[in-house]
Subunit: 305 residues, 4 copies
């Protein structure tokens, strides 16, 4: 159960089978830093280019295709006093003819106060003044090397994770990824101090982070899409377009989880999801959109393992 402190000296704009920067054992803790979506680090220096430069990859000893990598998000800590957002919704989230009514967006700056745990617009807005929001730090882009030796842009997402921009990936959550390459090859970056559902302006409050994670190999647990779990809920993640297809992936993956791990019949899983299921919109901005199927664990029997 070693604690590794890793200070990156380079970043990747694709998630793929790149040389590992560090090897860890299953159960080890990793403390490292991430830079923001545009490549600015904690001192505001341009340390890499777009999109979403990733720290890593980390090789997790013993992880093989067919296993699952569990990533406990222990601590997600903005580590500089500013972040930025875009200030106009993306044209793909409005009616096509309404695009003509939208101005083209610019970047605005936010002050991040880690003690009061608030983010505040650097400049007053005409009618809202200095808008102040509670911090809710999350990881926008993380995942593992995809199959076939692919190297996939960190602008998008897929079964390997990637740029899912789901605000449920906050501290206290465990993310699960299907291992598709030896050692899993875990990458992480793109921290958001705050983000709404859908990331409809194309950004959260983008900033650099210090992160503390535990990486664990779950041998022989085969999953198809990223999953997650926190104290209350199980969730499954579909990354695709349109949202309808993302829902299909997330729902199918949840049905597999409930029937395979909890031993429910298809009818029982359906009854629970039909009356108690929740869907969250991760993002409707990136090349692949993200929908999440979520279920409270209070309705479930013990996992069979």
């Amino acid at each position: 159960m070693t604690i590794h402190r890793y200070e990156p000296d380079g970043y990747h704009n694709t998630i793929g089978s790149h040389p590992a920067v560090l090897t860890v054992e299953s159960g080890d803790t990793l403390i490292t830093t991430t830079i923001d979506a545009f490549g600015w680090d904690q001192r505001g220096r341009q340390a890499a280019g777009r999109p979403n430069p990733q720290t890593g990859p980390f090789y997790v000893a013993g992880a093989e295709p067919g296993d699952t990598l569990a990533v406990d998000l222990v601590r997600l800590q903005p580590n500089r006093p500013t972040g930025f957002t875009r200030d106009v919704v993306s044209p793909n989230v409005v009616e096509p003819e309404y695009v003509w009514s939208l101005p083209q967006g610019e970047l605005i700056t936010w002050h991040i106060d880690p003690v009061r745990r608030e983010a505040t617009t650097a400049h007053p807005l005409p009618h809202l003044g200095q808008l102040c929001l509670p911090l809710d730090p999350m990881i926008g882009c993380f995942g593992v090397a995809p199959a076939l030796g692919q190297a996939i842009s960190t602008a998008t997402s897929g079964p390997h994770g990637g740029n899912m921009d789901y605000r449920g990936f906050r501290a206290g959550t465990t993310a699960y990824f299907p291992v598709m390459a030896p050692g899993a090859l875990f990458f992480i970056g793109d921290g958001h101090a705050v983000q709404g559902d859908g990331e409809i302006v194309g950004t959260g409050i983008e900033t650099s982070f210090e992160v503390e994670l535990v990486l664990r190999v779950l041998k022989g647990w085969r999953i198809n899409w990223p999953r997650g779990e926190n104290g209350d809920d199980l969730f499954t993640v579909g990354n695709a377009r349109p949202l309808d297809q993302a829902v299909q992936h997330a729902t199918t993956e949840m049905l597999r989880w409930l029937t395979e791990s909890y031993g429910l019949t298809a009818q029982e899983a359906s009854i629970l999801l039909g009356q108690c299921g929740r869907y969250d919109l991760g993002n409707i901005y990136d090349p692949a959109y993200t929908m999440v199927c979520r279920l409270s664990k209070r309705w479930l029997p013990a996992e069979r393992g």
Copy 2:
């Protein structure tokens, strides 16, 4: 501020410019009953056919095209001791090749206890036993006569409302509909004692209701899509396929609300929605899907009216 008690003696399977069953004044209270989605009434008798038979229409004096009809959902009360659901998810919400793994669904019965406010499966399930859920009554299908003299099936939804199957339409919420015909011609039906996001088994817990509503005409307030409001939130409703398009309608309608009624700039509205906005999945089962854009009122200045 009259209180009208109306006992229906017939129902409609389309929402259109049918003869009014009652005329009310703006601000009047209406107490009436609805039958379930399959047409069974509070005594379990088949009182009408599918889909989603509606009580009404109610003519609201003074409502003209270009106005908005506000419907305060004061009380939504299941009025019989049973409801039903389907027990398998709909094939459109899973990966296409996973359909082969799904059994075809059947109806199952639930007992509804209005005192304990619980619904319980009539028969024990193999691993979940007698599943018991807290009631959260909502209206699946309601709305006003659409434009052009159209009469639209209560299976689907549109700018006029209809079968939105959004669990946010619960007591304590005000729904807003764009008036498109003289008197608005309000219809209501399809109560659900409980429903998950997306209505992915094709039903909530379907039952008959007694409902208490206040109908108010908001003169000269022109809206494009249904909207809603409760103590915490504003929301806007897009009804379309795919979900992406429903998001476009809901987001555009929310931008209109924030800029026209609250005086925000497009940038301010975007910043709020980008960092604080929420999306709810009403249904992904009906011919038109429903996505809801929602924003906490805590972030807003006073409405300009």
Copy 3:
């Protein structure tokens, strides 16, 4: 085999169970006129409002729900010397951020020469001069009364037909519609002298028509979606959004046709469609899009009837 000449004195903007203007026998010929999509008649007078005013409905004796109405498009004749189009593509057919690059469109006039069978822009275009296109007249919007007593806007389409805007509905084609109301109640309007795939500017060359049709009842032939046939091909029509879903309806309907009427196995139908099938894009502009699945009859055995 009577020939009916019907001169309309009113039009409908919905397709529904309206009072019939004429009753015909199965096999009768109908000669009538249609006005253009905006309601201008053959003398250029505004005879009705938008959208797509329809001539009819015509009651076809003997047609009952569960039958099919065959409509032989014998002659489709533009009957005035002008038509109009919009001159900019619709914002929904370009990348969302490209909308900012598009001007907003206007209407332009075309001269229609029925003898040379050509349409020519009334004014020269900057680089194309007076663009001259061969006529290829087609019906944009036609169909039969939908189920449940619905009345559906002529802006959209569905299982009943409606505003499909498919250029395959030209003279020499037989269209088939599922009868859903007694007498079928056939409507027709919205002639286009020319139209590209997708109707991406929102119009074809819109003009008024004289049409000659034969209406035939095919007793007991139950279909789910509009179909068509010409000397070369069979085709089936899906009307929905997104195009993916329109493809699903059209393909399923073609599989039904090939297996039910031609006796093919699912594998044979799949092999033919997989290697010889064609898809046409009717429209990607209207509220429901239209995709057509088409197969040459040269590959087929004799129909079993």
Copy 4:
């Protein structure tokens, strides 16, 4: 103008910045072979694994990001006497509830006769007998290294080309790809002896090919998506889901071509596409679908270059 004959001794399942197997000059001819989608070569031996193993990459001297690579498809020649198809349509192309009616598919064999230019099912079908189709050879998967050093599975497609499965990529056509890496790095594979629109059974008649190509660098011609040209038509290719988005990419790319290279105004380009444009469905099976926007060159002024 050298003629290169290249015999591959290895294949790639991703399109990316892999080491070049051969360097050619702009204007050189390349004669090489491809193996089928499952990796079987001209002697029926398994030479590589799935999906769609590619021959290459070929480095084209002088090609730099911002240029375009033109690929003249001079000759596409099936070089073994058999091919195979699947025999049931994919579940994603039918209505979701119709999947239950579909059998699961198998592979069937076809005999390919290069002299008579026909493909015939190896075994008679129950009602169609030995189905015999004219050959129409095409390339299913080809393209150039994508941006960012990505390596993308040959199962899918994007701005770099890839698995577009469009039957318009036949001999006599020139394909254009946006160069995104030095030398362009051209890959080719996945020949189909025949394929219907949409590749709805998931295969064409899959077989191995000998191909003859000319590779040309068009310096400083910047394009965003694959394009093509034959004696009659220009076309542009959008690869995305849903089909609606593929249409948006293809249409936008055609508007760029017509305005930038032919000097048309947005209105002129719109008028042509609106009344004369055609759309082809490449595939509706792969992870990204393909729609093609096509326009006859007869309507165009001379290209300005």
